[in-house]
Symmetry: C2
Subunit: 371 residues, 2 copies
């Protein structure tokens, strides 16, 4: 008996190599396994390396061929997600699988897109290919939580990040915030920036801290930078506008903002989007939908400030939180989240803890927001 | 070779049985071990069961005798703390050890009281007894941290406790706080109440929440209840004053408080102490010294509110913190600690984490305040 779950687990490992590169495509890994005497031996591995690049199924077949394999008659193709059957940036993977006469396909979970879900499997079955699926399905969905979210809701995945003292403050009353968390925590934050399509902060954070919002403490690509700035208060001298990567910066502002400033920002390469607003509070849901579509931002790492976190929670746009807790007590200061979210404890935002880990002197807590 | 550390570890286990009962005495365990062919066999165990009761050394010798042991000529007496050599509530243990002709005494750590430290050992040595010490010394000091603190500083050990949301709030903006933490956390808090000599809260907490501050969710003795109430605002109808255990309640107020109200409180059995105050903020250090001396309160479990925690931290009277973090986000609300403790992050109160553990849905973090 071949252990399908074992090989699906391997495809997930491969899939994760694409983290931060494939949006708005999913993370997909594929493995070709040769079956001899009831035992499976991996002959090739592949994964989706980036948006617009070949799918994992194409990659793994190409690699097998490069190694001289031409006969797939006793092979199984493993893939964490149902093979596609539609023409997108690349031709359908189902066609290729049929063409290469692979007799057996095992995948983890069906495509989340209702109109497509099951159709890839059906096409393969119709071509006489043995198809099995539903292995480690929850893990497969978890690895592609960003993809599942935006396919189902047309909204990006949003993670709130804050670094606070044990008593929940992100700065002293006078505004000092450097540094609450330890260097290892800050390095990990930069690592996370490489994994998300964009970081997001409120204008106040830019005005106060003038952050660069790029990746310096580790290797990896810079994320795009989203500034929510209803009143367009951001100074043209801010790092995110005046540095070399201004074209990485996206400003979300209220409709009918200062036209001249918008032009100045655009001249610097900044992408400015305008949205309906209520007292300069822009419609965040519309904004995130728009930048998912226009900027291919399927995952957002929201780094504050406390009002911004409050707004994202109030709008029910946040999916999870990652909190760095430093072994310090600040007392009166700026709390990590502000904004009236609830009048009673019973109606507070509920979380489900995913992990609690030490990171040098700090503790890092990850939790999913319970919808 | 006999493993002294092994037996000292056993004495600590015994010592801990006295938690919550021995103040202002230390926690002490003792073991008598018979040595035969180089191997040690425990013949009796004893511990200090409560203030005014026999010392652990007396207990263990009595028990050995009760089991028919009369000859201690090849015995070792193990005890976590240096045997006393002075007349207190009970006669000196060194006299008894000499009288019983125990030839060998091993203890963990010398007495912290400078005037006594080493004198017990010296008396035993002078009587021809072999004395060894300095085994698991740090653990011995840790187990008796309360005793070491008050002997060295004439101040009780103070633990700050708060139950907060992940974003550091102990209540919503409208004041709702029931319940932030889960039932298991609350039961653990009641367990801790049995272990401390007293719980302490500010008057505001009594006025707002009218807590009972006793032990209901688990078995064990009620702690004394200290209310810090500079202006003597506490209503006579408060649970802590009108319930059957009013004599368990201690009120710390400002000098020259409402004389009539003090009399009313005293008539109900409440212990009222007056202290110098600055704008009704009483001198907390003087107050804690006083109640250590008068009420034998060597350990205090401070349960809030946020201003009270701030005051204790500002006065450098807090020794450690235990924080229950619930998987919730409250946003705007009442923070766990208020009061200006620092203008800069660099000068925030520093902590050293002792433990981070899950407790049902919550996380409980214990940390020592770095002086």
């Amino acid at each position: 008996m071949i252990d399908h779950e074992h090989f699906i687990r391997q495809t997930l490992k491969l899939a994760r190599k694409g983290i931060g590169k494939t949006a708005t495509n999913p993370l997909v890994g594929a493995i070709l396994v040769k079956v001899e005497n009831g035992e499976g031996r991996i002959i090739a591995k592949g994964y989706h390396t980036g948006y617009g690049k070949p799918h994992a199924e194409v990659e793994v077949i190409r690699r097998a061929k490069r190694m001289g394999v031409t006969d797939f008659s006793n092979a199984i193709l493993y893939v964490n997600l149902e093979p596609c059957c539609h023409h997108g940036k690349t031709p359908p993977c189902t066609d290729l699988i049929i063409q290469e006469k692979i007799p057996h396909v095992v995948f983890g979970t069906p495509d989340p897109f209702k109109a497509v879900s099951g159709k890839g499997a059906a096409q393969l079955t119709a071509a006489g290919i043995k198809v099995e699926y539903g292995f480690l399905e929850n893990v497969c969905i978890e690895v592609n939580k960003i993809f599942f979210k935006h396919i189902r809701t047309q909204l990006p995945w949003v993670t709130l990040k804050f670094a606070q003292s044990l008593d929940g403050k992100i700065a002293t009353a006078s505004g000092d915030s450097k540094w609450i968390s330890c260097e290892s925590s800050r390095r990990y934050v930069h690592q996370l920036r490489t994994e998300y399509d964009a970081v997001l902060v409120g204008a106040q954070t830019v005005i106060k801290d003038n952050p660069q919002l790029n990746v310096r403490l580790t290797k990896g690509r810079d994320p795009k930078r989203i500034i929510v700035d209803g009143r367009l208060r951001i100074p043209l001298t801010a790092n995110v506008i005046s540095d070399k990567k201004a074209s990485n910066t996206i400003i979300l502002t209220a409709k009918n903002s200062n036209r001249k400033k918008i032009d100045q920002l655009r001249k610097k390469g900044v992408h400015v989007y305008e949205f309906p607003a209520n007292k300069f509070k822009i419609d965040l849901k519309a904004a995130l939908k728009k930048i998912l579509k226009e900027e291919k931002i399927a995952s957002i790492f929201a780094e504050g400030g406390s009002l911004m976190h409050g707004e994202l929670l109030k709008s029910k746009l946040a999916d999870d939180v990652i909190v760095f807790i430093a072994p310090k007590i600040i007392g009166s200061g700026i709390p990590s989240v502000t904004g009236e979210l609830t009048k009673t404890i019973g109606k507070a935002v509920k979380l489900k803890l995913s992990s609690v880990k030490p990171i040098d002197a700090d503790i890092v807590i990850q939790a999913r927001i319970v919808p």
